[in-house]
């Protein structure tokens, strides 16, 4: 990704967060945590596309993308999903000091999972 495209992607991510902040005044409170975890996923994906990867961050992004749309199915399921994300964080804390940011080709596995979408209505 060139510097121009990277700047554009960052601008769009900031736009997503700012607009979410405004819109959440009028939206269901459930969308607050949804936008937060989705923003985390978008940030990790942007870094991956910039070929800056960490296996634990990629794992967390995959978990977010696989479960985030549960917000539209069931509050209970969404709550369980959020708890599982925090559990995953704790699971990966042991890796602190061992994990490194890799710069280079993105892991293909991640690319394949980038568009996982379990939502629907």
């Amino acid at each position: 990704m060139g510097q121009v495209e990277l700047e554009a992607r960052l601008f769009e991510l900031v736009g997503y967060m700012l607009t979410s902040g405004r819109n959440l005044l009028d939206e269901t409170p459930m969308y607050g945590p949804f936008r937060l975890v989705d923003a985390a996923s978008r940030l990790i994906l942007l870094l991956e596309d910039e070929e800056i990867t960490s296996s634990r961050l990629s794992t967390i992004r995959e978990r977010i993308d696989a479960g985030k749309y549960s917000v539209m199915r069931s509050p209970g399921e969404f709550r369980t999903f959020l708890d599982s994300l925090v559990d995953a964080l704790v699971d990966h804390m042991d890796s602190h000091g061992k994990e490194v940011i890799r710069r280079g080709k993105r892991i293909e596995k991640n690319k394949a999972n980038a568009n996982v979408n379990l939502g629907g209505k």
Binding site: N23, N115, N117, K121
Partner: protein, 174 residues
């Protein structure tokens, strides 16, 4: 396509292939939209079809509910000044959004019949989208619809008439 096949098969699609949607197909979707019922036959809906990728990205930046990279975004708008003129307060505050919703459903079913994926978006900043689309005073975006060739097949959602559909009176079973 059979009507029931479209009604039962349509899903909210949020991942799209990197492939354009031809203009004649988009125009068919809008043909379906404008054949929806309209309160008082006001037909004060307005539609803006966006296919320029740069403009779509700008819209996406101020639309947290817009996922994926669709080939087109259709803004379903209402001329609220005209709606007020045609239908009074009821026209402006009630019939206008209802008409927009009915037109949108027609559009969604037509999109499915064309093999397209689509998703209705209400989570967007109306003022910002209005500016990006150069909407005139009095014309408000009601909904956005992302449209593209689907890159996913969302699962069948749970739907049940129980506790929702009644006969004769509320909670009645006929």
């Amino acid at each position: 396509m059979d009507l029931w096949e479209a009604i039962n098969g349509r899903r909210s699609v949020r991942a799209f292939l990197d492939r354009p949607v031809e203009r004649d197909i988009l125009e068919r979707l809008l043909e379906a939209a404008i054949w929806a019922p309209s309160g008082g036959n006001a037909q004060t809906w307005r539609f803006v079809i966006v296919t320029e990728s740069k403009r779509i990205r700008s819209i996406k930046t101020v639309s947290p509910g817009l996922f994926g990279d669709p080939a087109a975004v259709i803004a379903v708008c209402q001329d609220l000044a005209a709606a007020r003129e045609r239908g009074g307060t009821l026209g402006e505050t009630f019939l206008a959004p209802v008409d927009a919703a009915m037109a949108t459903e027609n559009l969604l079913l037509a999109a499915y019949a064309e093999g397209l994926g689509a998703c209705v978006i209400a989570s967007f900043h109306r003022g910002a989208v209005g500016r990006l689309l150069d909407l005139p005073e009095g014309v408000e975006p009601m909904l956005l619809v992302s449209v593209g060739w689907p890159a996913e097949s969302p699962p069948v959602p749970l739907r049940s008439k129980e506790g929702i559909v009644f006969f004769e009176v509320y909670n009645g079973s006929g």
